[in-house]
Amino acid sequence: MAKKEECVKLLGFWISPFSRRVEMALKLKGVPYEYLEEDLPKKTPLLLELNPVHKKVPVLVHNDKILSESHVILEYIDQTWSNNPFLPQDPYEKAMARFWAKFVDEQILAAGFMPLIKPKKGIEVAIEETRELIMFLEKEVTGKDFFGGETIGFLDMVAGTMIPFCLVRAWECMGIDMISEEKFPGLSRWIKKLNEVEIVRECIPPKEKHIERMNKIIEKSKSS
């Protein structure tokens, strides 16, 4: 367990799923923290000093320790504060959670954003390719409330911040109903369950503001 006199700061960006999931993890553990908003794309001297390698959010500062990369930060939080563990204890289950988290942030993000904005093989093909990848997650969550079982875990925080509260909103802006209840009953149920968790609701970007900003991002991406 961590000592009582902690100083925890989080540099984040309100629209970033990567920084939102760190907030979720800190709230799940009941860790008080100071949030410092970066006004991206402008980067503060503090961000450049704390993360000179990547110059990205999120950055967690815990006393004198500086951490970046959201998956690395999440595992650090789980090991440092032992209450409400969110990574599985079993090594195999842990390996699976890490595998699927990487899959969400790499494959699903790569297929589910730019190829839909600039579809080289046509929009229908791009949608179908994204759905094929999402189907792997459907199989993982079917029969469960959350990927973590009865309560939210590591993969719920990674996939939750990336899919329903980021990509789904981008897809709505593009007029795409990617995760329909008919095709993805398990994931649709998971999204409803996530919306019932107070910590999740506290850590997602406000919808209207998010959609407005997302539309600007999509327009900018189309012309780049």
């Binding site: 690395v72 930060i73 595992e75 650090y76 090991q79 440092t80 195999y92 390996a95 595998f99 990487k102």
Partner: protein, 262 residues
């Protein structure tokens, strides 16, 4: 007929004389079918299979980790142009090696495999990751850096030419210099002990000669301390027994370069 455990086949088998009646024969056949599904294994005997490809900088990480821990495993070479049904079944998402199959369950993605090996065989010698959460986080951060900032240009050095290759060489050296700065005066990234980051880098160390020959450049003058650590890593028993002959990697690199650089 009685059910007996056979030490030779690790199975329950039926021993004894069956009487000749057809009903007893049918019963005997049913019992044999059932017993063929029952295997009694000694508790310590894990079945560990590694699906791999000999020159892969990712596959070698899994081999090294298993050997560091002294884990017995069956190595199975995959032909990546004709992937086995087992590989496609065990890694349907990426269809890539390495895949570690531990008692029938697959683990994919090389550094995920290395972490799994460290966690399962945690009672064995040589912890691959530090126990302190912050040091573990640092190790994971640098491995993530290696698999993005080193991997992308390294890949282009052997598969491209001209301006694209020149740009890749520059980015590769820049990334290696950042790593060298992190290494500092330590013998290994893990300090005095060979560990997680060193295992990740060894995949690239074994490809240094091939990268230099494909790109017509030299790494040592740019990164002398990193090169010294690389040589140290390449001398470890677990690494010597896992990495192919560098000349064979050079030969392989030029063979595939001919395909990519028309």
């Amino acid at each position: 007929m009685t059910l007996r455990y056979s030490h030779n086949s690790d199975r329950l088998t039926w021993r004894g004389e069956a009487k000749t009646s057809p009903i007893r024969s049918r019963t005997k056949k049913r019992m044999e079918l059932v017993s063929s599904f029952i295997r009694i294994r000694p508790r310590m005997a894990d079945e560990v299979i590694l699906l791999d490809f000999w020159p892969s900088p990712f596959g070698v990480r899994a081999r090294i980790a298993l050997r560091e821990k002294g884990v017995e495993f069956e190595y199975r070479e995959e032909n990546l142009r004709d992937k086995s049904p087992l590989l496609l079944q065990m890694n349907p998402v990426h269809k890539k090696i390495p895949v570690l199959i531990h008692n029938g369950k697959p683990v994919c993605e090389s550094m995920n495999v290395v972490q799994y090996i460290d966690e399962v065989w945690s009672d064995k010698k040589n912890p691959l990751l530090p126990s302190d959460p912050y040091q573990r986080a640092q190790a994971r951060f640098w491995v993530d850096f290696i698999d993005t900032k080193v991997y992308e240009p390294a890949d282009k050095i052997w598969s491209t030419k001209g301006e694209v290759q020149e740009k890749a060489k520059k980015e590769y050296i820049e990334a290696l210099k950042i790593l060298e700065s992190e290494l500092g005066n330590k013998p290994y990234f893990g300090g005095d002990n060979f560990g997680f980051i060193d295992i990740a880098m060894t995949g690239y160390y074994m490809w240094f000669e091939a990268s230099e020959k494909c790109g017509n450049f030299s790494i040592e003058p740019e990164c002398p301390t990193l090169m010294a650590s690389a040589k140290r890593c390449l001398q470890r028993d677990s690494v010597v027994n896992s990495v192919p002959d560098p000349e064979k990697i050079v030969e392989f690199a030029f063979k595939i370069r001919k395909i990519y650089c028309v």
